[in-house]
Subunit: 342 residues, 2 copies
């Protein structure tokens, strides 16, 4: 049996047992960082510049920001994203908000870290469309104003490298977290932070079994070592009307990354934070509203049909997981030589 | 003779005489605003949100920010801009920095105000691609979170209108100004603000005759009433090698807006501020470096060939017109209903 799957199942059963009693955790005020990339102000500053820089795409039009809009829900507002030349991707853009609390990245978990994730979209032909990572960092090197920022973040020497660019972007993304939501305040003791309906929804959410997957501070699964993903079969109960209606089983999921048929239909469990900002929903982007998303998940993952009141209560609870979004200053990007895009 | 042209010529001659003695003006600390749209903090906040919102384009991918990047030079870094579906425009994007100091907008001056300019790109089929302005404001209305910001800016009632959206964007753009450059500090009395070469370049710039057009605080012409443009024939001397090399005479210029052949080859005189950030140059975007741009202008507008030293001195002077760019906070956009882009 596939090793990841074994780990996943063992952990899931243990977690499901632990969460049977209901265990609520606030989001930490800082995101974990790997030992070889501690978060520093200089890296965050550089990373923010690179994150917003469309010059790193083949056409000069697409940046990380294009599909992960940190002025809004950290995603775009589309079924699937638009990359260079208007090409459309195959999956709904996951939010970058609190991505730092995922132990693996992408819907199929194919990147073990934010650093590795950052190297994906620039060379994806339907996202940023660069031929390879050397071409990406060549673009950065062609903009002389970037070098001092790399040196400030990584020291002197040959520091304008793709690895350092990815580290800087990851460092910036580790600041894109939203502790302090109404839910967090409630868990920390402010019992007035949630409405009566939200508290009822919280109880319904737990009682229905949602927390066998959506647990922990980010509601994306149990604490796992960085690089070890928490994956779940979706749809687990494929016989509901939703599977066909919303095309839920058309994509092989994690199997597209591992090429292991045992991973077919396995997906990283996404965070439930900031859902009020991230419609449309699911890896397909086919479910347009939050109440419908709750119904779909109950049917496909728990084989349950919730009442309208239960759905409304759960939605009210999920709304308590939104924000607050940190106020950010805009980066200032170095100027472009006139021959950059030749 | 065309009225605008008469005004232009009369004013040009008068201005050229006045500037023969060399007259240097610092950029004001605030931009002028029309009587019916005074700049307020609430309008600026709303305008910044709309400016950054790609949901106002047909594909949901292009915002004002896409081609007028206020994290950099207020333009893009391309010969001509890319709009929806990767379509390319016909002219180089003018910078939005200090656009508030232009008396008309667009290269051909076809908009008499920033308010009117803001209504252009959303319905341009190769820019933001919306079918009409009603469709644009319908998009805004479909995002419920916008209404409170319109009410804060414009009062209660039926205030979510295209006119108000354009007013808000214009109000935001009036904050996108860059007083306080080295040149401004020099003019205000700080004689150490410019290098010896920059001062020499300033003198060369005036002596060569550049200021017959590039005069005033923004180096875009004499003070004219809002809505009255300052246009100039470009190339005035079409026989240089540059006309063909850089395709300078292929576009009818203002005649494309007025349908008056007398306006063929007439262009609004652009600001010279922040040129170090706005390569490539000219309405064509075909001139890649600032030294070459200076050579082209000397040849085509003054029938002069400058020495390499003169070019270098003028470039050094022009570099003193860059920045400082105000630090801006990012706007926070209201969330998207899942059916917005249907």
């Amino acid at each position: 049996m596939h090793r990841t799957l074994v780990i996943t199942l063992v952990l899931t059963l243990a977690a499901a047992a632990a969460y049977g009693q209901g265990q609520w955790e606030a989001l930490p005020d800082t995101a974990p960082a790997p030992a070889d990339n501690p978060t520093t102000a200089a890296k965050v500053e550089l990373g923010k510049m690179l994150y917003f820089d469309p010059r790193l795409s083949s056409t000069g039009t697409v940046s990380c920001f294009s599909c992960h809009n940190v002025m809004e829900g950290g995603d775009d507002h589309m079924t699937t994203s638009a990359g260079v030349h208007g090409l459309k991707g195959g999956r709904n853009a996951p939010t970058v908000w609190n991505a730092a609390f995922h132990s693996v990245q992408f819907w199929d978990g194919r990147a073990p870290s934010l650093e590795e994730q950052a190297k994906g979209p620039p060379v994806n032909p339907i996202e940023m469309g660069m031929p390879n990572l050397d071409a990406v960092i060549d673009r950065v090197r062609h903009i002389p104003g970037y070098e001092p920022y790399f040196e400030k973040a990584f020291g002197a020497g040959d520091v304008v490298t793709m690895d350092n660019a990815a580290k800087a972007i990851a460092a910036y993304e580790r600041t894109l977290i939203t502790p302090g939501s109404a839910y967090d305040r409630y868990v920390k003791g402010d019992k007035k932070a949630l409405t009566a309906q939200q508290v009822k929804g919280m109880e319904t959410f737990a009682a229905a079994g949602c927390m066998s997957c959506h647990q922990g501070p980010a509601f994306n699964g149990p604490a796992l070592p960085a690089g070890t993903g928490f994956f779940m079969k979706f749809p687990t109960y494929p016989d509901s009307v939703y599977t066909v209606k919303y095309k839920l089983a058309d994509d092989p999921g994690r199997a597209s990354a591992t090429k292991d048929t045992a991973d077919t239909g396995m997906w990283r469990v996404p965070t439930l934070r900031n859902l009020t900002y991230t419609a449309p929903y699911m890896h397909t982007g086919t479910v347009k509203t939050l109440p419908e998303a709750v119904r779909v998940m109950a049917a496909t993952q728990l084989d349950k049909t919730l009442s309208d009141a239960e759905v409304a209560d759960i939605v009210a609870f999920l709304e308590s997981l939104t924000g607050p979004f940190p106020q950010q200053t805009m980066p200032h990007l170095p100027p472009t030589p006139g021959d950059l895009l030749e």
